[in-house]
Symmetry: C2
Subunit: 418 residues, 2 copies
Amino acid sequence: MIKRFLEDTDDTELNKFVKDFPGNESYHQPEAKTRVSRPQVSEPRPQAPELYEDDLEFRTPSWPQPSDSQQYCSASAPLSPSARPRSPWGKLDPYDSSEDDKEYVGFATLPNQVHRKSVKKGFDFTLMVAGESGLGKSTLVNSLFLTDLYRDRKLLSAEERIMQTVEITKHAVDIEEKGVRLRLTIVDTPGFGDAVNNTECWKPVAEYIDQQFEQYFRDESGLNRKNIQDNRVHCCLYFISPFGHGLRPLDVEFMKALHQRVNIVPILAKADTLTPLEVERKKRKIREEIELFGIKVYQFPDCDSDEDEDFKLQDQALKESIPFAVIGSNTVVEARGRRVRGRLYPWGIVEVENPGHCDFVKLRTMLVRTHMQDLKDVTRETHYENYRAQCIQSMTRLVVKERNRKPRAQSKQVSGSP
Amino acid sequence: MIKRFLEDTDDTELNKFVKDFPGNESYHQPEAKTRVSRPQVSEPRPQAPELYEDDLEFRTPSWPQPSDSQQYCSASAPLSPSARPRSPWGKLDPYDSSEDDKEYVGFATLPNQVHRKSVKKGFDFTLMVAGESGLGKSTLVNSLFLTDLYRDRKLLSAEERIMQTVEITKHAVDIEEKGVRLRLTIVDTPGFGDAVNNTECWKPVAEYIDQQFEQYFRDESGLNRKNIQDNRVHCCLYFISPFGHGLRPLDVEFMKALHQRVNIVPILAKADTLTPLEVERKKRKIREEIELFGIKVYQFPDCDSDEDEDFKLQDQALKESIPFAVIGSNTVVEARGRRVRGRLYPWGIVEVENPGHCDFVKLRTMLVRTHMQDLKDVTRETHYENYRAQCIQSMTRLVVKERNRKPRAQSKQVSGSP
């Protein structure tokens, strides 16, 4: 559409004007402070004055090259580059290039306006970690976010754990990087899978997620929607034991109960107990079982066809890494002359951030650097919308039931009167 | 919070380890393909194995400078810059700098994730133009968006216009710049102010805006909220005649009726009939009257205190330009050796995009390049929310009334039965 108007227009009409009118001296126009270099011509007045703007052919200006054959003297050009207002977008300005002189409307700054607003507003993210205790959930979270979220955590004794029911705890922390603020909330599920009988131990977790949806539904339907606190869970890292032969029944039960409610990202925990070959086999087994049991874990969005090849390869590698085999560590060791987060074994050093040792970096890149916003969007657009639709449907059924009950009660009352 | 963990940690403990254990030769670790340069030490096992991760002091790695006094040989480093996965953010990557080696979580890419998503999704914007005919509304819109939105427009004769009632027309066009897609909808109000008696001629306009809100409210409250078409009006350019002594009663009536429903941006139309001094006086008069009549035109958001000075000055200039004095033109003329959008008078050339001639560029910058997203946000967060709240309140009143009516009707029926 726009292309049509960027095409050079012919100026036969204009030349005709110029030829027909006398007077070629440039003269000074006092008010506008601009030296006018055109011959003075009076615009021909069309018959119907209110029509004339639209009757004229629609043409777009196109700047001539300096080698343009026509020569006019020009003074005090108010549109010189130095006088141009400075762009508020700095290096993000899509128009700040050598093509600057082309005529643009300027709406390509819209993504930058969105960018700017999002920075001003700040971000929030709620991450749930689930899986039996001892699989390094807290350590991994601390490693991922370089923060100590569990300083006051009290671990339970073995006796306490036998009786324990699943409880849900929340830790929130405000962190900032490069001017971007993030309110991170970690939802933990201590006690999950710890009891002798773990039947339906996914239930409190599912209920917690639904409660957050319900609260949001209430708030969103209310009168005042400013400052709604959004506690919806955006992602659940589900920790799978490295000792199981693939998925355990509890894992299957949990993921099947939760996969319609939350983005599940499966984690193969404590992968330093497995050789690379064992990791590969176990991953394949788990992927097969996820498929077999019809579990819908978080799906990475498809690459656009216009993405570059590097990005596509990276994306492919990410998809093939499920479940992410991770090793966590809160301690710093020295390896290859650098101090790194790792674990010191008599047989060598396990480096958490070494891609040859585990998928920690891949997981962090996905969770934080590339897909955090998508996890939020899928939560909002899919999981929450599903919850909301179910909610409305059951509310509608209730109302219909109520309505059907009422007339009967009423007619009874009427017929029963003397 | 994060700062605490970026502080260098002391390695007294680690040095103690190193001193206590023998063996200084580096050896090859086959599986991880990493040459380990640390002496082999076995990690001391704490008493309670399930506690050990959290008992250890939490420390963050810090990379030593090349001049570090300790020398270890290092081979085939898997984390070398060339092996680092390429950032999908390209030049927008906030981590793509010399500070790269510092440890970051990575969530500063969140605004870029939002940016990327917004580009993929595309944008929409609905602009309304209002004001009596002949003030150059269509010409200005065409000039602003470099497109011809009114090709099939049929202008009415003087006779037709006497009888005419205000109608609302919509023109939509899809435009693209630098890969950013925008669906632009222009809502026009032909007939506004054209009749002999213009009493309540703002009503159809207000009703149109409310209808769009109502439709959105319905859609938003429905079961399936995917693909909701959002027709809410984001901005209304209100054209004020340059011949009035300030605001006319019709202008005041219109703006007062609409200012709670839509972002009004007042325009001083056809400013080429006014000298710079007259423009300044008329603008001041109009601003005073806007204040006097309690009209709330669109308020530019306040600058953040952390914005740079240039930006603040630009913002200040913008606020002082209200109402924007504009001159529109669909024709191209030659001025100062360049072909520009302008108007050829016997006394000189009026250049639309010359900041010394009118506020066209200022208006376009505001409307498109800097404040388009804010206009949408204010529409969504303020005008729509106000409409929705009123809607819910009157619905609630209706339900209460209905409830009060029913028992009475019912009791009547009961007492009335034989």
